[in-house]
């Protein structure tokens, strides 16, 4: 990322502001869409790298991300710009809603609308989770990814499952990926280690109802050994 041009305070503020103000049901889907798919501030791998660091640190994941991303570009004041941008609108909105103290929350119409909104929002989170997990369960592991292919400006990222769409719609950049997918090598292209650890983390939380910090604590040594040996 060091070779990338630095974003200004204004860009950091307005970028995170846009992600924050439309971030219904969680900012992650919107932040990833804007930063990776729309503006190309980060590649899918860089986003995963930064996001996983932020998840392993205490605090709200996406706020941590604003802190870290802002600081990388403009130091402490950049972090302040990004975080202020992210939180300005949501905090104002939630304070107003809180002052009205759920006066409208009890009305059935509002509740049904909110139920539909929540259902759609968790669909967005699920899709974003798939996009984050996709490069991880494939064999192009960070350890093997020393030489990065030059990234064409604002092109769609070739790791997105969306690119499995019919070949006619896909830009030529993804040709190799499509070829790979439709050949038998596809099975060999998945990373066993990535899939195993991903499934374990998922299972512990969803099926085992283990808390997030404990899941991380338990899986980290295991995953470290696997990453070290393989």
């Amino acid at each position: 990322m060091a070779d990338r041009e630095k974003l200004t305070h204004g860009a950091l503020f307005s970028g995170f502001f846009q992600a924050g103000i439309i971030g219904f049901g969680g900012v992650l889907p919107f932040a990833r869409r804007l930063m990776v798919e729309k503006w190309g501030w980060l590649t899918a791998e860089e986003f995963n790298d930064l996001f996983s660091l932020c998840q392993f640190m205490p605090g709200a994941n996406i706020v941590n991300m604003a802190f870290a991303f802002g600081a990388r570009h403009q130091g402490v004041s950049g972090a302040a710009a990004a975080v202020t941008g992210l939180l300005a609108a949501p905090m104002a909105i939630v304070l107003v809603l809180g002052a009205m103290c759920g006066r409208f929350g009890g009305i059935p119409v509002v509740q049904h609308g909110l139920a539909g909104l929540a259902a759609a929002a968790c669909g967005l989170v699920a899709a974003t989770a798939v996009k984050i997990a996709w490069p991880v369960v494939r064999k192009k592991d960070v350890l093997f990814l020393q030489k990065k292919a030059p990234r064409p400006g604002n092109q769609k990222n070739s790791y997105l499952p969306r690119d499995l769409a019919p070949a006619g719609e896909a830009p030529p950049v993804n040709k190799s990926f499509l070829l790979l997918f439709f050949k038998k090598e596809v099975l060999a292209s998945f990373s066993l280690r990535g899939m195993l650890v991903t499934c374990l983390a998922f299972g512990l939380v969803v099926i085992g109802h283990v808390s997030l910090p404990l899941t991380m604590l338990v899986l980290l040594p295991f995953s470290l050994v696997l990453a070290w040996r393989l």
């Binding site: 103000i21 439309i22 971030g23 219904f24 900012v27 995963n48 660091l53 998840q55 205490p58 605090g59 709200a60 994941n61 706020v63 941590n64 972090a79 975080v83 949501p90 905090m91 939630v94 809603l97 809180g98 759920g102 929350g105 059935p108 119409v109 049904h112 909110l114 139920a115 539909g116 909104l117 929540a118 259902a119 759609a120 968790c122 669909g123 967005l124 989170v125 699920a126 899709a127 798939v130 984050i132 997990a133 991880v136 960070v142 350890l143 499952p161 769409a165 990535g194 650890v197 983390a201 998922f202 939380v205 808390s211 910090p213 991380m216 899986l219 980290l220 995953s223 470290l224 990453a227």
Partner: protein
């Protein structure tokens, strides 16, 4: 102790305990706020949580509402700052080190180790959300459609959310 100081101390402490995201400390927040300090009833806390969920923004907003309930707008701002700053300072330092040792082998091994855990946790977070939100067949269909739309189309997520809201209203 002044309420503002109490809010700052409570959320400053919780900030550093919120590993994996603010949601992992929600039970701790509820215990402190409802049972420990009697700032509000369990029902009020559930209501606050619902408000925070329906507003745009990160899910740490629930602490703003707790602060606001106890000490007005100033309480909300203090709660947010206390929840954000300690973790934020830590992550800025950690991210600096993370960049500095980009080429080091231990850094690459550590990264390779935490990436799949992160992927699993994000998938799990989605599953937990789905479990809570999809109380009917129609809502489950909305979630499935929204997932498909976000993966395979270029529709703006706001349209997807608007569609879900409309379906929720129509089915009622």
């Amino acid at each position: 102790m002044a309420p503002l100081v109490q809010i700052a101390l409570l959320f400053g402490k919780l900030s550093l305990l919120a590993v994996g995201g603010v949601n992992s400390t929600l039970p701790a927040i509820e215990r402190e706020v409802v049972d420990g300090r009697h700032w509000m009833t369990a029902r009020a806390f559930a209501q606050i949580f619902a408000i925070a969920q329906s507003a745009p923004g990160p899910n740490m907003l629930v602490v703003v509402l707790v602060g606001q309930k106890v000490a007005g707008v100033a309480g909300g701002v203090v709660a947010a700052l206390a929840m954000l700053l300690p973790a934020g300072v830590l992550v800025v330092v950690a991210s600096g080190l993370w960049e500095r040792f980009r080429a080091a082998r231990w850094r690459r091994v550590l990264q390779a180790a935490i990436l799949p855990i992160t992927a699993g946790l994000v998938l799990a977070a989605a599953a937990v959300l789905v479990e809570a939100a999809d109380t009917s067949f129609v809502l489950a269909a909305v979630t499935a459609a929204a997932t498909w739309a976000n993966l395979r189309t270029k529709w703006h997520p706001l349209w997807v959310l608007a569609g879900g809201t409309v379906v929720g209203l129509l089915v009622w």
